[in-house]
């Protein structure tokens, strides 16, 4: 788990003087499940294509097992890819699609047969050997694409939004399936997605990207609990982001009140972004609250209610199982560990205000992304 397999150093990619990747520095460990996460156009697919050998970086190096592979063509790299739209060969049946890479490598037919059969079992497609690609459902095509890549026993498998075209239910199943396959075969996965939930569920390491730059690298828990800037805080889950001032270690002031927190190491009186996750907020009676505000809208979300509360003109999103009717006056309490402090960044003030909250925020955000991707 600790061996470094791939390293990208100062990777820059430019198309017609548009900077798509801006000095990417990243290392990927052996047998790791690493996810490149970001909105469309953030450079995640470009990074993947550079690793796969389909793009040559404008500058910077790609190292594989310590060797520079910038100029090694895709077909000589021990890396295989699962493409976004599968890219299965329509003129071949399921068996021949999976056997393709092994036949190119000129393996004996007997070994090919063993490995293809084994692979069909792993992706639960036994009995589909002679089916035409055109007769398969999206989920089945997906499995063939994964089998076709994995049968070559690559060191690294690159997956470019492989579940993007599947419906929600199938996507959840495939997420588990992929994680299982990755652990069973002990292969490094580099996974590209714009779905933060998918990234949190599956990854060992998440790389959050935006505008061609890496915003944060870390374990899913770290990315969620300690986002580095307003972009990460907003992109991974929901966040209330407020302006505050760090008075001293463990003490932050916002909304005219001093709160205890668990963060330190900031300059005295440094202006900061304060992140409060909607699910961490406790609703209490107004007289017991640190802050008091009026509920302006309530949306039932199944597990919880999305409650929008107006605190002195700044609207917060609170996710709570307690129903507070619209118009009620409530108080909230914040424990020190509920408050996360971030340095100011170029993203400050752009995210985390729910004044223009719409009950369909999830769906709208998803729809936008998927349209862009098409």
């Amino acid at each position: 788990m600790s061996n470094e397999l791939i390293r990208l150093t100062n990777l820059v990619m430019e198309f017609d003087s548009d900077r798509i990747l801006d000095s990417i520095n990243l290392y990927i460990k052996d047998k790791e499940f690493l996810t490149l996460l970001g909105p469309s156009g953030c450079g995640k697919t470009t990074t993947l294509r550079v690793i796969g050998g389909f793009l040559t970086p404008t500058s910077g190096d790609v190292l594989f097992d310590g060797k520079r592979i910038n100029d090694v063509p895709a077909y000589q790299r021990k890396i295989n890819t699962v493409f976004q739209r599968y890219a299965l060969f329509p003129h071949l049946d399921v068996y021949d699609n999976i056997a393709f890479g092994l036949r190119i490598a000129k393996l004996p037919e007997k070994e090919i047969d063993e490995r293809v059969t084994e692979m069909l079992e792993i992706v639960s497609l036994k009995g589909f050997e002679n089916r035409k690609i055109t007769s398969l459902s999206g989920g089945q095509q997906q499995r063939v694409a994964i089998a076709r890549a994995l049968v070559n026993r690559p060191k690294v498998l690159l997956l470019d939004e492989p579940l993007g075209a599947l419906d929600l239910r199938l996507r959840k199943d495939m997420q588990n399936e992929l994680k299982r396959i990755q652990q069973a075969m002990g292969i490094t996965f580099v996974y590209v997605t714009h779905d933060q939930e998918e990234a949190l569920t599956m990854s060992d390491t998440i790389v959050v990207m935006d505008k061609g730059k890496i915003q944060q690298i870390g374990k899913p828990e770290d990315i969620y609990n300690e986002p580095k800037n307003a972009f990460v805080a907003d992109f991974i889950g929901e966040s209330n982001i407020l302006d505050g001032t760090m008075l001293e270690d463990y003490s932050v002031k916002f909304f005219g009140r001093v709160f205890k927190c668990v963060d330190k190491g900031f300059a005295k009186n440094e202006p900061v972004d304060v992140v409060i996750r909607p699910e961490d907020i406790d609703i209490v009676k107004p007289e017991e609250g640190h802050l008091c505000g009026t509920v302006t809208s309530v949306t039932f979300k199944g597990v919880h209610y999305d409650t929008i509360v107006d605190f002195k003109g700044f609207k917060w999103l609170i996710q709570t199982t307690d129903f507070c009717p619209e118009g009620s006056y409530i108080g909230i309490r914040l424990n020190p560990e509920d408050i996360h402090i971030m340095h100011k960044s170029e993203y400050s003030g752009m995210f985390g205000d729910y004044s223009s909250y719409s009950a369909e925020y999830d769906e709208i955000a998803d729809a936008e992304v998927s349209e862009d991707e098409e």
Partner: protein, 273 residues
């Protein structure tokens, strides 16, 4: 209105096909007069294949058509790959140039090719340069655009990830072409080749200018028939050529239809439902 357009369509078909049908019927008639059908016979067909002159002309035409089609198909497919990879102004310029031989009046193409061959002939000091080779070069020239125009859309329709998938699985670029891309664009190559073949087989105008007395194709020879009475065995020949063309065209359309259904199916399935 609907009836009106239907009537027009039927009329158009009558005008287009009546001459062919009359010719076909006449080819089975014992009489010499095309206006009178006396009795049914295969005599004209037997006569036709006994006529060494006509058979060798037909062979000439087929040789030129086959070789020029094969050459144009290979060249055109390779050219399409190159054009497909190029972008922007260069691509536009090349496509325009490709289209010129198709839109250019045949007689202009014919005369200019003849002049070019004469010019080269003088430079290389070859007497009687016009013959088999000039005819072949001319046919390849006017066949090329048909192949390119049929292959290009197939390349554009092809999922660009397919080539990358092949490279990803260890194919060299050449292997990727033969093992994957070629299969994808095959319908375009076949319809391009069929179109080129039919164009080549029935070309008269260009062939007339670029061929010498040593190597004559059927259409060129038939042109001279207009000056003397036509023997009924020629009707039989025409009928055969017409049928061959008909079969080729129907095959082409069927192939295209099958390809379209397959493509649609794949798109639907890919949506995952």
């Amino acid at each position: 209105m609907r009836n009106f357009t239907r009537i027009i369509t039927i009329l158009v078909f009558i005008f287009l096909y009546i001459p062919m049908i009359i010719l076909g019927i006449a080819s089975f008639s014992t009489g010499k007069d095309i206006a009178v059908f006396e009795s049914f016979t295969f005599h004209q067909y037997r006569e036709l294949f006994r006529d060494d002159g006509l058979v060798s002309l037909l062979t000439n035409s087929l040789i030129i058509a086959v070789i020029s089609t094969l050459s144009a198909t290979v060249l055109g497919t390779v050219a399409s790959l190159g054009i497909h990879k190029s972008r922007g102004r260069l691509r536009k310029a090349i496509m325009t140039m490709t289209n010129i031989p198709m839109t250019n009046p045949e007689i202009v193409t014919g005369v200019s090719l003849a002049l070019l061959f004469a010019f080269v002939g003088i430079i290389l000091r070859i007497n009687a340069v016009l013959g088999f080779w000039t005819l072949l070069i001319a046919h390849i020239t006017f066949n090329l655009p048909y192949v390119i125009l049929n292959v290009m859309p197939k390349l554009a329709q092809m999922d660009p990830d397919l080539t990358e998938a092949a490279l990803d699985l260890g194919c060299t670029p050449v292997q990727a072409f033969f093992k994957v891309v070629l299969h994808e664009i095959m319908p375009g190559i076949i319809s391009g080749a069929l179109m080129a073949f039919t164009m080549s087989l029935d070309d008269f105008v260009i062939s007339y200018f670029v061929t010498g007395s040593g190597f004559v194709t059927l259409p060129v020879e038939i042109y001279s028939y207009t000056k003397k009475p036509i023997h009924p065995k020629v009707y039989a020949l025409f009928t055969l050529i017409f049928l061959v063309m008909l079969i080729l065209m129907v095959t082409m359309n069927l192939l295209q239809a099958r390809d379209n259904t397959r493509r649609r199916k794949l798109m639907l399935r890919r949506a995952g439902r």
